[in-house]
């Protein structure tokens, strides 16, 4: 039973990935490239230590984005606004971090609190609109994304620019060293060789891991998490069981926004130490794909984030050797999402049929546990 479960759970993503590789190979062949060359090239470049470091750095914000989206998905709320929430949060948190001077750990905590509060508050607007005015969260969060990005441009230019900057690259002042997050290179290097090319593994990865563990514990071990999942599975039954639907919507949006607020911090705290025009955008949308592929499960999201991160960090080699356009990786990622969604549904159906058969057997032959002991 449990072996079958595990096998089924693994079958879906593996089939989806194999299918995506196959389809992308066809695309490459259509453009006159030998897919084997491209994949081999990516594999050999992608298994170097430096690429793994890069993979970790890319996977960390993707993981946080995936979790932020999954929190909403778990109760059928579509927080499309993760994008706006994290960009706005990163800007304000970076500015706050540069404006104060605190002892090392406190400084980082302050920046994180600011980021989570901003993300949370911004997502909360959509939650409030939904429960008080019936505005669907997809509509409001999409619109709020536009608002957030416009606000970021305005705030940066008008108030938050670094006065001492002479480079014309619009940026906020630098966060002092006490507010920077240490990297993990020395930790990794005790197991491996030295990491070269100036690559640093962002320490914020540990925070992301902690968020994943907390998310898992919250969902599966707490009453509030059960209320949230119950609402996602059947809002009517949840309401009858005593869950307040409006409060749960607002709470879930606040929580999702708080995690969204952290997405930009690996980059801000680990590398840039400020918000500037080079700040990575679009992670909120990729996070939706990551959550889908990861089935909204903290472990699955980790695998999906690492997969996406690895594909992103090993793709650039394709441009260098000229075997294939690096965009093939975007196609691959898109196909993975679609194939995974289909594969999960197929596996789900197989599982349902199998369970119904087991239950039917149990009805005919009551087992030990189902023996009748009360008249």
């Amino acid at each position: 039973m449990s072996i079958r479960r595990v096998a089924l759970a693994l079958a879906a993503p593996v089939c989806a990935f194999a299918f995506s590789i196959g389809l992308s190979s066809l695309v490459l062949m259509a453009f006159g490239t030998n897919p084997m060359d491209a994949w081999t090239e990516m594999l050999s470049y992608g298994t170097r230590l430096e690429t793994f470091v890069e993979t970790g750095n890319r996977a960390t914000p993707l993981y946080l984005a995936g979790i932020a989206v999954a929190i909403g998905f778990r109760m059928n709320l579509f927080n499309i606004g993760v994008e706006g929430q994290y960009v706005l949060a990163a800007l304000l948190a970076a500015s706050a971090g540069a404006a104060v001077d605190l002892p090392p750990i406190l400084h980082v905590i302050l920046i994180m609190v600011v980021a989570m509060t901003v993300g949370s508050a911004f997502a909360g607007i959509a939650g409030y609109l939904k429960v008080s005015r019936g505005v669907h969260e997809v509509i409001s969060t999409i619109m709020l994304n536009a608002v957030a990005l416009a606000a970021v441009g305005f705030l940066l230019r008008s108030w938050l620019l670094d006065k001492n900057d002479t480079t014309l690259n619009m940026m906020t002042p630098e966060i002092p060293p006490s507010g920077q997050f240490p990297h993990l290179n020395s930790l990794v290097e005790t197991f491996t060789r030295e990491i070269t090319r100036g690559r640093q593994l962002w320490g914020f990865m540990l925070v992301a891991l902690a968020v994943g563990v907390l998310f898992y514990a919250f969902l599966n071990r707490t009453r509030a998490g059960f209320d949230l999942r119950a609402t996602g599975l059947n809002p009517f039954a949840a309401e009858a069981s005593g869950v307040d639907p409006a409060a749960t919507v607002v709470r879930t949006m606040l929580l999702s926004g708080a995690v969204a607020g952290l997405i930009g911090l690996p980059e801000v705290l680990g590398q840039a130490h400020r918000y500037d025009l080079g700040f990575t955008r679009g992670l909120g949308f990729t996070g939706i794909a990551v959550a889908l592929v990861g089935r909204n499960h903290p472990g699955g999201i980790a695998v999906a984030a690492l997969l996406f991160g690895w594909l992103d960090s090993s793709a650039p080699i394709l441009d260098v050797v000229g075997d294939a356009p690096r965009e093939i990786v975007s196609i691959l990622q898109g196909v993975v999402v679609l194939a995974a969604v289909v594969a999960y549904e197929v596996v789900n159906r197989i599982r349902r049929v199998a369970e119904a058969r087991d239950a039917a057997t149990a009805m005919q032959h009551p087992t030990e546990t189902t023996d009748r002991s009360v008249s």
């Binding site: 509030a224 059947n234 039954a237 005593g242 369970e355 119904a356 546990t369 189902t370």
Partner: protein, 519 residues
């Protein structure tokens, strides 16, 4: 009242169904159902919700296929795999919930999907002409150019009927057509139906409002628990007799137990008024006391305010007026969770919608509604191992047949899902148990187990509010009976002196002695 047999029926049959059987996982919706509809008659199919009327009609209209059985339309054997095949065979269906495009005109809605074309373009002129002819000949007044969104409900229904006629239907199926209409519109509809009958159409009319059925139908077929009970001529049957046929008396009878009087009020309703979904009062000034160790039965035809009353007690629907007291304390302003924690148990009418998380395992479903209490929770944390133990205990005590506590509830049969819900609610030892249609849609064996458990609840001192459409069940189990009619308490009866027939006449508002004076 005597059943009509095939040999007696002289006229040719428009539709004949033989031994139709349709199974869904865990439920037999139609169990060897026979139906013979004579040409040119208005034939009503009646039965309680869950009796299998809608499934039968969906099979006849090709929306579902029967597992077994034969269908004859106009004497030829047919097998429909889609509604369009049924339409080709001259069968049309007017659904309970209209399927119209609001922003299109009457004409556009009628021709939608069957547009007359001339050189690839829609031929508006001939469609217009055809529609007006139809309207005139059947007395169905409609302005073809009106937008559907501007129409009243009764007019929309006429659009649906014309739509069906436009496609050449000779046999019309109307699924609870009066449920959406006000009395004046019902009159108009009946007028139209008689007009259609006069023009030679055959009408199959699904309903559970007995007065209406008697007023319009020539022949009535009664379904109960997926089986055909009988087919009778409407001139030879009374509303009370029909009610009895619908709920049946051949079921295993719930036996009664000696009653001890207890005057300690557990729940009191003080002139409770509740608004329905349409904003009108669904429950009007109801006063009611439910005592410790008593089963109070609530009888009533579906839609007379029972569901709203239950929702109001539970806190899912606000009170418009009045007060609710639990053990003497007002709970009117308490949220659902606080009421449940204070000891309200709930076996919902629609257990899959209100009572279960179908895609969650058995043990998580056992927590649902009790997730804030021991053994399921300790402070803000869930206690998973204790919850699983509690779930195994419930599975054993209430004979829930499942492979284990990790099985998804969706895989269980309807009866086992219901036993799980009842077990969950009872093992939480509530002060007050609300059981809405606890035996609906489950097999006879599970039914007996549910009755045992309700009696056990009463012995243990719970106050039980029992809503049911099964009159035998109400009379057999309840210590006191009240009847709801149009949102009010119409009568209070002593079950020991009540018959299903008497109860049925109170429920339909017919005269008390059971003699029908309804036209």
């Amino acid at each position: 009242m005597k059943p009509i047999t095939a040999t007696e029926a002289a006229t040719a049959a428009a539709v004949e169904l033989f031994e139709i059987t349709k199974r869904f996982p865990g439920v037999v919706a139609n169990d060897r159902v026979n139906l013979r509809v004579a040409e040119g008659e208005i034939h009503a199919v009646v039965g309680e919700n869950g009796a299998g009327k809608s499934t039968l009609m969906k099979i006849l209209y090709g929306m579902q296929t029967a597992d077994e059985g034969r269908m004859l339309v106009g004497g030829t054997e047919v097998r429909f795999s889609s509604p369009s095949e049924a339409i080709d065979a001259g069968i049309g269906m007017v659904h309970q919930h209209f399927m119209l495009a609001d922003h299109l005109t009457v004409l556009e809605n009628v021709v939608l999907g069957a547009e007359p074309t001339r050189r690839g373009m829609i031929d508006h002129r001939s469609a217009h002409r055809h529609l007006e002819e139809l309207g005139k000949s059947y007395g169905l007044d409609l302005e073809p150019t009106d937008l559907v969104e501007s129409l009243e409900v009764g007019e929309r229904q006429r659009v649906e009927i014309i739509k069906v006629l436009y496609r050449g239907a000779k046999v019309l199926i109307l699924d609870e057509p009066t449920s959406v209409l006000v009395p004046q519109e019902v009159e108009n509809l009946f007028h139209n139906l008689r007009e259609l009958k006069a023009k030679g159409h055959t009408i199959i009319f699904i309903d559970h409002k007995l007065e209406e059925v008697l007023a319009i139908a020539d022949t009535i077929t009664v379904l109960r628990q997926g089986r055909t009970v009988t087919t009778v001529s409407s001139s030879e049957v009374t509303a009370a007799e029909l009610a009895e046929l619908m709920v049946g008396s051949e079921l295993p009878k719930p036996s009664t137990e000696p009653r001890e009087s207890n005057q300690q009020k557990t729940l009191s309703l003080r002139s409770v008024t509740v608004s329905g979904d349409d904003g009108r009062p669904a429950v009007s000034s109801v006063d009611l006391d439910i005592h410790r160790g008593e089963i109070l039965g609530v009888a009533g035809v579906e839609g007379n305010g029972q569901s709203e009353l239950v929702e109001a007690i539970l806190g899912l629907r606000p009170l418009a007026e009045g007060d609710l007291l639990l053990d003497g304390e007002s709970i009117s302003h308490w949220p659902v969770r606080r009421r449940r924690e204070a000891g309200l148990g709930y076996v919902p009418e629609d257990r899959q919608r209100r009572g279960l998380l179908l895609d969650a395992p058995v043990w998580e479903n056992v927590m649902l509604g009790h997730q804030t209490r021991r053994p399921y929770a300790r402070g803000p944390w869930l206690d998973r191992s204790k919850a699983r133990d509690a779930a195994s205990q419930i599975i054993t005590d209430f004979d829930v047949r499942t492979p284990g506590v990790d099985t998804t509830v969706r895989a269980l049969s309807g009866g086992n899902q219901q036993k799980l819900v009842i077990g969950r609610e009872m093992s939480a030892r509530p002060q007050m148990l609300i059981a809405a249609h606890p035996t609906r849609g489950i097999d006879v064996g599970a039914q007996a187990a549910v009755w045992d458990n309700l009696r056990k609840a009463r012995r243990e001192g719970m106050a039980v509010l029992l809503l049911s459409a099964d009159l035998e069940e109400l009379i057999g189990l309840a210590d006191r009976l009240v009847v709801m009619l149009r949102g009010r308490l119409a009568a209070e009866l002593d079950p020991s002196t009540t018959t299903p027939r008497l109860l049925g006449s109170h429920m339909t508002g017919a005269s008390v002695d059971g003699e029908s004076d309804i036209k």
